[in-house]
């Protein structure tokens, strides 16, 4: 039988890894959204100016 201690270790490190992975995904998504917003607003302003 597996040592139950390894289950607790897996719970601890698994949670930490999942948290960090989610944060990294959110960081990239936020940056893409920010860049897209800048590009969109710039495009709208240029369209208005025309």
């Amino acid at each position: 039988m597996t040592d139950p201690h390894w289950t607790y270790i897996a719970l601890a490190y698994g949670f930490a890894a999942a948290c960090l992975a989610i944060e990294c995904v959110l960081l990239v998504r936020r940056r893409r959204a920010a860049l897209a917003r800048v590009a969109r607003e710039r495009h709208l302003d240029e369209t208005d100016a025309d």
């Binding site: 040592d3 139950p4 201690h5 390894w6 607790y8 270790i9 719970l11 601890a12 490190y13 949670f15 930490a16 948290c19 960090l20 944060e23 990294c24 959110l26 960081l27 936020r30 940056r31 959204a33 920010a34 860049l35 917003r37 800048v38 590009a39 607003e41 710039r42």
Partner: protein, 241 residues
């Protein structure tokens, strides 16, 4: 060269972008080294068995949760006294990572507590004050997000950070001030370490990895915040072109 010029978002944005891969790479490398030390080289604890290996993620995350809050409080002071725009942005950029570290330290503490104390949670001074720290982070994020004017949001958040900073010494000294279930400080500047050298090395390397990760994440996030706030300026518009 005037170092204060990097207090301007326009100058800081490219600098942060250049630093992110270095800090991110260092974090990954140190985490691998720390985990090898923690799981391969460090011996099994004679009392706790294997489960003590949670220390290599629990202690670094707990230290970072406290330290990030102190750094945010420093930025809060700069926001209120110097009215430096970048300080408010940096505090906002650090908050989610600080909350994450607090959550990781609470969760890893709970799964360590179950096999060693026989319980997931007790309303012990150290655990409760760390839970309050998590709520302070979440409260800060909620507060600054709720206020539409970013600079007003920064100032309101700064006040909350400065009021909440009193919780940090409470967390740190809780194990001395009160009779708690939580063990005393793992490492002290004034006393010799009580753990094996490899265990200590693994913990310190993992702490360094957590530092590097935090810096990389905060710099990455602050770049997005700068883009969001300065999106009407010419230099940001040129970036999206």
């Amino acid at each position: 060269m005037n170092p204060f010029r990097f207090a301007a978002p326009q100058a800081f944005y490219p600098l942060a972008g250049a630093m992110v891969p270095w800090f991110g790479g260092a974090a990954a490398l140190l985490a691998v080294v720390g985990l090898v030390i923690g799981f391969v080289l460090a011996p099994t604890d004679f009392q706790q068995g294997e489960v003590y290996r949670i220390i290599f993620i629990h202690v670094p995350s707990a230290w970072m949760a406290m330290f990030i809050y102190l750094v945010m409080a420093g930025y809060a002071l700069l926001t209120l006294v110097m009215r430096a725009r970048l300080s408010g942005m940096m505090a906002r950029a650090l908050a989610p990572t600080g909350a994450l570290m607090a959550a990781i330290s609470l969760w890893t503490g709970a799964v360590w507590g179950k096999p060693t104390w026989g319980t997931w949670w007790v309303w012990d001074a150290r655990l409760t004050s760390t839970l309050i720290l998590l709520f302070l982070y979440l409260g800060y994020v909620a507060l600054v997000t709720a206020i539409e004017d970013p600079q007003r949001g920064d100032r309101a958040g700064a006040l909350l950070l400065l009021v909440g900073v009193v919780n940090i010494p409470v967390i740190y000294f809780s194990v001395r001030w009160w009779n708690t279930l939580h063990q005393g400080a793992s490492v002290s500047l004034t006393a010799a370490p009580t753990m094996a050298a490899t265990m200590l090395a693994g913990m310190l390397v993992m702490s360094l990895a957590a530092w590097m990760y935090t810096i990389a994440a905060a710099l990455h996030r602050v770049r997005s915040i700068i883009l969001e706030r300065e999106r009407h300026t010419r230099w940001v518009r040129a970036l999206a072109g």
